[in-house]
Symmetry: C2
Subunit: 195 residues, 2 copies
């Protein structure tokens, strides 16, 4: 895997905290990067979600099967973390599905790998905490958005914050993410186009 790809995660960490060149090197060396072809399921309903991922390239869609329909709960793309914590919560198997919408390049992380890294570099505990906080903060926002925003507001927000998504996934997945049927999404788009 190319140097540039590995640098993406190092760069992400560097924005959280200053890294020594030795630390940068160790991250690069210990990093497990894999390619996942389009259509690969990283997680299927009924499994235990153990692995977390950092998206170097590609797009992963998260959805729940609900009353026979797919309810899209998240899109993960470049520089985002897909964090799995099933092993911590005393939970039944996951009800989430996570599928690669495009060919993906992902860094894989899990409890075991983290522990080894933490043992060698205790400071990575702090970095890991920061990643967790940042991702958690994003999720808190997403959760309140579900409670308070109309589908139209959610559409406009997605368009503003993540315009690339509209070129990368089919319309029906956008519809299920903002919480409407595909027909209603067409109406929302027409209404917005007129304004």
């Amino acid at each position: 895997m190319g140097k540039t790809m590995q640098n993406k995660l190092v760069q992400y960490f560097s924005e959280l905290t200053a890294l020594s060149s030795e630390e940068r090197q160790d991250i690069e060396n210990s990093m497990m990067i894999n390619k996942f072809p389009k259509g690969t399921y990283l997680l299927k309903e009924g499994q235990i979600a153990r692995d977390s991922y950092f998206v170097i390239k590609g797009l992963v869609r998260e959805f729940i099967l609900w009353d026979g329909d797919e309810k899209t709960t998240n899109f993960f793309s470049e520089n985002q973390w897909i964090i799995s914590l099933d092993t911590l919560a005393s939970t039944p198997p996951s009800i989430l599905n996570r599928v690669c919408v495009e060919d993906c390049v992902l860094v894989i992380g899990n409890e075991k790998m983290s522990k080894e890294l933490f043992k060698k570099h205790p400071r990575f505990e702090a970095i890991s905490r920061m990643v967790m906080e940042k991702t958690f903060a994003g999720q808190q926002q997403q959760m309140t958005s579900f409670f308070t925003e109309s589908p139209e507001q959610r559409y406009l927000k997605l368009l503003k914050l993540r315009p690339d998504i509209f070129q990368r996934v089919p319309q029906y997945q956008i519809a299920s993410y903002i919480g409407v049927k595909p027909e209603s999404l067409s109406r929302i788009r027409k209404r917005i186009a007129k304004q």
Copy 2:
């Protein structure tokens, strides 16, 4: 503040990882515990949420004002963390309200206090990461529950996992938490009582 109260947080941490007696002592010494009378707002819509809290005693309700109605998004009680990460996400002020439903005793934490503790005891970074992960895992579950469970299922789950809540808050708050009008909650309760 009594020793027993301080021990509650130490005990919580001990369940995550083994603590030396020096570490226990330092947690107890550095802990900032405050009493908050019933009705106190820890956070109001429009403010920046900077402080996190650990509930030693009491109950805090979180809600969003939405179309003139209160939508209850969380109840926090003994041994739970109320985590605020507004300063991390590049967010507008919070839309959440957090109010003490009972007289509360809370441990207060924030970025500045954590940093001081981390400097003295780098290992607390790890503990903080574990707290974050555990709370995050709980929130992930809650989020999928909102997507997939009916109000009746949410009612039964709350009754099973947190039966005390029903004695501690008025019915209309339970209703808004499970996502129905108070009238519908009465119907749900009657239906369940018949079974």
